[in-house]
C-alpha cells in the first residue's frame, strides 16, 4: 500500500536532465500506473551534487525525506515496491535523509554528511526542495513575505538593513550593495531602472543558472525589493541565451508573480509600480560587464564604455540604473526577513554571509556548494567536495574564471573571502572554482584562458585587443616546444601593460591567469622552454611517451591500462614503453597516479 500524500521529487534542472531525469520521471509515471493517485511527482531544481544526478527524493507522510543518488529508470521499480509500498528504503542507493519527521535507521542525516555539514544555505535555501514552477511552493517556504515587510519599512530602512548585513556584490568586484542602492536612491530622476545580471559568462561556472532554475522567485523577489528601495519602476533580467531552461522558468515565474499582484501597478496595495522584462543575451562574455550589458539591452554592440559616469548616474537610456548579480539579489529576501545582523553573523569581518561556488574539475563531488565566507580552500575541497577524484595529487585551484587566478595547492590554507583571494593573485569572481590535479598543465591552462579572452575581447581598446594576442602567441609557442628563455620576461611586461591600460575589467584582469601561473609554477614554464617537456602530458607537441624513471613507483597500473600491450614492467620493475607498439592513446598518462609518463 502506498500511503496517500507520498511525495517524490526528481532533479530536473539542466544537470538532472542531462543525466536522464526525464527518463526517470517517465519511468515513475509508467511504473506507478494506477497507484499514482496517492503519489505526487514533483520535478525540482538541483541540490548541488551534480556528479550524483539523477537525484530522487522520496517523502512518505510522517517520515523523513530520503535522497537517492544516481537513479536509473531500472531502479524505479524497486524503489516503489520497497520504499513506497513497504516503507523500507533501498539503503544501498541512498545518499542521506533530511527533515524533522521520523528517522530511518541506517541512513545518515544530511546535516551529518561532511558535504552538507560545512555548508550554510541561504541562497540555495529552496533549491532542490521546492517545485520552481509553482509560486505556491515558494510562498509556503516563506516567500514574498520580505516584499510585504519591505514596503512597510520604507526605502531608507530597507537600504539600511542591507548595509547592516554587509552584503557585497556577488558578480565579481564585491562592491557593497547597500552603498550602491543608496547612491541610486539619491539620484533625482522620474525614471530609474534596476537590472539583474544573469549573464554568467565565466566558462566553468553555473551558480546563477542553478539558482534561476531552482528558485526563480527568490531572485525576482530580491529584484522587486531592490526596485522599490531605489525608486525604479522597471526591471530587467539579462540572461545568457545558453540557459534556455532558466529563461523558460523565469518567464513562467514572472507571469505567476503578476497574477498574485507582486508585480504590476500598485503592488500589494502600495503606491509602488514595478514590472520586469527578461532579455536574452547573445553569447558575448563582455556583456556581463555592466556598461556593455546596458549597451546590449539598448540594441548596440555590447562594448563597454569608460566610467564615470557610473550606471547609477547615467545608465540604461541615460537614466539612473542599478545593476546587481543574481546571487546578490537572491540574498535580499533572507536579509529582510531575518535581519541584517543574522546575515552578518556568517562570514568574516569584511566579507559577510555565504558564497555559492560551482566547484568542478578533478574532485569527487562536482556541483554547487554554498559555504560561509572565510572557509579555507582545503576545507572546501576536502570536506565539502569530497577530495580528489583520482589518485593524482591536488595541484591548483582556479578561482574567478578568466579574470581570476590559479592558486597553488601549497596555499590551500588561504581563506575564501574577497581580500584574501586578491592577496594570492586570484579574485572571488562570480564563484567558479575549478580544481586541477597533477595531470593538468599550468602553461596550457594559462593559454586556455587567453584563448577565451582573446576571442571575447570586444576590440575597442588596443592594449586588450593586441596585448592578449601577443601573450597568447608566446604561450602557443611555449606549448609547442618553441619557447625561448626571454619569453617569460616578455610575458610579464605585456601582462603589466594590459593590466594597467585596458578600458574595462575584461582586459584589466585578463593577464591574471598568466601572472599567477608564472608566479606559482615558474618551474613548469622552464621545463617547457628549456627541456621541451610537459610533465603533465597535456601539450601534444611535447609528448614523448617516455617514463621518468626517477618518478616511476613500479606500481604497474600503466601496464594494465595499455590497450596495445606496449608497456612492460610493473610489480617491482620500472615501466618501459615499446614505441613500436605504442598507439599514443594517452591511457597510460591519464592512469599514472604519479605523472611519471610524459
Amino acid at each position: 500500500m502506498i500511503k496517500k500524500g507520498t511525495k517524490i521529487y526528481i532533479g530536473m534542472a539542466t544537470c538532472g536532465l542531462a543525466a536522464g531525469g526525464q527518463e526517470v520521471y517517465d519511468s515513475f509515471v509508467s511504473k506507478l500506473g494506477k497507484k499514482e493517485s496517492n503519489v505526487q511527482l514533483i520535478p525540482t531544481g538541483c541540490i548541488g551534487v551534480c556528479s550524483r544526478e539523477v537525484i530522487v527524493d522520496v517523502e512518505v507522510p510522517g517520515m523523513n525525506r530520503v535522497t537517492y543518488e544516481k537513479v536509473k529508470p531500472e531502479m524505479v521499480e524497486k524503489i516503489i515496491s520497497e520504499h513506497l509500498e513497504k516503507d523500507q528504503p533501498v539503503n544501498e542507493w541512498v545518499f542521506g535523509q533530511s527533515g524533522d519527521k521520523k528517522v530511518y535507521p541506517g541512513i545518515e542525516m544530511y546535516q551529518d554528511l561532511p558535504m552538507f555539514k560545512n555548508q550554510v544555505r541561504i541562497v540555495l535555501r529552496n533549491c532542490g526542495s521546492i517545485d520552481p514552477d509553482k509560486i505556491e511552493d515558494y510562498i509556503n517556504a516563506g516567500g514574498y513575505k520580505a516584499i510585504k515587510k519591505a514596503l512597510k519599512m520604507g526605502q531608507s530602512a530597507v537600504i539600511a538593513e542591507i548595509t547592516k548585513a554587509g552584503l557585497r556584490g556577488r558578480g565579481g568586484a564585491g562592491f557593497p550593495t547597500g552603498k550602491k542602492w543608496d547612491i541610486a536612491l539619491q539620484q533625482k530622476s522620474g525614471q530609474k531602472y534596476f537590472i539583474c545580471n544573469a549573464d554568467e559568462g565565466d566558462p566553468g561556472a553555473f551558480m546563477n543558472r542553478s539558482t534561476l532554475e531552482g528558485d526563480p522567485h527568490a531572485v525576482i523577489e530580491g529584484l522587486i525589493i531592490g526596485g522599490y528601495a531605489i525608486g525604479a519602476s522597471k526591471g530587467y533580467i539579462y540572461c545568457r541565451a545558453e540557459y534556455p531552461l532558466a529563461v523558460k522558468r523565469l518567464h513562467l515565474a514572472l507571469e505567476q508573480a503578476r497574477e498574485k499582484g507582486f508585480l504590476g501597478k500598485k503592488i500589494l496595495g502600495s503606491d509602488f509600480d514595478f514590472d520586469i522584462t527578461v532579455k536574452e543575451g547573445a553569447g558575448a562574455f563582455v556583456c556581463g560587464e555592466e556598461t556593455a550589458l546596458i549597451a546590449s539591452i539598448e540594441g548596440e554592440r555590447g562594448m563597454p564604455r569608460p566610467r564615470p559616469p557610473y550606471p547609477a548616474q547615467s545608465g540604461l537610456w541615460g537614466k539612473p540604473t542599478n545593476i546587481n548579480n543574481v546571487e546578490t539579489l537572491a540574498n535580499i529576501p533572507y536579509i529582510i526577513n531575518e535581519g541584517g545582523e543574522k546575515f552578518a553573523s556568517f562570514g568574516t569581518e569584511k566579507s559577510k554571509g555565504t558564497k555559492v561556488f560551482a566547484i568542478t574539475g578533478k574532485i569527487k563531488n562536482t556541483g554547487l556548494v554554498e559555504v560561509p565566507m572565510g572557509i579555507t580552500i582545503n576545507d572546501m575541497i576536502y570536506k565539502v567536495a569530497g577530495g580528489m577524484a583520482t589518485k593524482k595529487k591536488f595541484k591548483a585551484i582556479q578561482v574567478g574564471g578568466p579574470s581570476g587566478g590559479c592558486v597553488t595547492a601549497a596555499l590551500g590554507d588561504t581563506k575564501i573571502d574577497y581580500e584574501s583571494l586578491v592577496s594570492v593573485g586570484a579574485i572571488m569572481g562570480s564563484g567558479g572554482a575549478v580544481v586541477l590535479d597533477e595531470g593538468n598543465c599550468m602553461v596550457d591552462t594559462a593559454r586556455f584562458f587567453l584563448e577565451f579572452t582573446k576571442s571575447e575581447s570586444c576590440g575597442k581598446c588596443a592594449p586588450c585587443r593586441l596585448g592578449i594576442s601577443q601573450m597568447l602567441s608566446i604561450l602557443n609557442r611555449i606549448c609547442e616546444g618553441k619557447g625561448k628563455p626571454e619569453d617569460k620576461v616578455a610575458l610579464v611586461q605585456i601582462a603589466e601593460t594590459v593590466k594597467g591600460a585596458s578600458l574595462c575589467g575584461l582586459g584589466q584582469t585578463s593577464p591574471n591567469p598568466v601572472i599567477t601561473t608564472l608566479r606559482y609554477f615558474e618551474k613548469e614554464y622552464d621545463e617547457h622552454i628549456n627541456e621541451k617537456k610537459c610533465k603533465a602530458g597535456i601539450c601534444a607537441e611535447l609528448l614523448r611517451f617516455e617514463v621518468d624513471e626517477t618518478i616511476c613507483k613500479k606500481c604497474g597500473i600503466c601496464v594494465k591500462q595499455c590497450p596495445a600491450q606496449a608497456i612492460q614492467g610493473g610489480a617491482k620493475t620500472l615501466a618501459k614503453i615499446d614505441k613500436s607498439k605504442c598507439t599514443k592513446c594517452r591511457k597510460c598518462i591519464e592512469a599514472c597516479p604519479f605523472c611519471a609518463i610524459y
Partner: protein
C-alpha cells in the same frame, strides 16, 4: 530524451520557394509589433531559432521592419557569437570547451567528434547537411564535464569513445 527543441529537424538553408528567408521567418518579422534598435537582438534571435542562421535577406527585412539601418543590423549580427551567418545542418552539436570541460580533456573530444564526422579544418557542417559542430564556451553543466549539447539536450560525462556513439544514434 524528451523535450526536443521544436525547430530541430526543421532547420534548412532555404525554404520551398527558394528564398533565403523561410516563410515562417518572414511572418515572424512582418508580424513583429515593435520598432527601434532595442528589438534587433530579440527579433534576430527569433529568426535564428526558426532558420538556424541569419541570411543577408533576413538582415534587410529586419532593418526595414524595425527602422534601423542595415549596417547596424549587420554590426550586431557579427558582434554576438550566438548569431550564425551560415546555414546549419539538421543537428546542431555544441561540445563545450569551457574551463571545467577543458581540464577534463574536451579539446581531444572535440577533435574526435570532428574526425568522426569527417570535418576537416574550419569546415563545421557535414556534406550531407546532417550535423554542424559549433563548440561553445560553457553550457552551465560543468558538474558533468565534459559535456555537449545537441538540439536542446545535454549529454554529460563524455569521453573519446561515447561522444561518437551518441552522434551516431542521431544519424538518419
Amino acid at each position: 530524451m524528451k523535450n526536443k527543441k521544436k525547430s530541430e529537424g526543421k532547420i534548412k538553408s532555404k525554404d520551398k520557394c527558394g528564398c533565403a528567408v523561410s516563410c515562417e521567418s518572414e511572418e515572424i518579422i512582418k508580424g513583429f509589433s515593435h520598432q527601434g534598435k532595442q528589438y534587433v537582438i530579440p527579433l534576430l534571435q527569433k529568426v535564428q531559432e526558426q532558420d538556424g542562421y541569419i541570411s543577408e535577406e533576413t538582415m534587410d527585412l529586419v532593418s526595414e521592419k524595425l527602422g534601423v539601418p542595415v549596417s547596424q543590423v549587420y554590426a550586431i549580427t557579427t558582434f554576438y557569437s550566438y548569431f550564425r551567418l551560415q546555414p546549419i545542418g539538421k543537428h546542431l552539436v555544441r561540445p563545450c570547451r569551457g574551463t571545467a570541460c577543458h581540464v577534463k580533456g574536451s579539446k581531444r573530444i572535440i577533435e574526435k567528434i570532428k574526425e568522426h564526422l569527417d570535418l576537416k579544418g574550419d569546415i563545421d557542417t557535414t556534406a550531407d547537411n546532417q550535423f554542424t559542430v559549433a563548440p561553445v564556451a560553457c553550457l552551465g553543466t560543468c558538474g558533468l564535464a565534459p559535456v555537449m549539447m545537441i538540439g536542446n539536450n545535454v549529454y554529460g560525462n563524455l569521453n573519446e569513445e561515447n561522444a561518437g556513439k551518441i552522434i551516431d544514434r542521431l544519424k538518419s
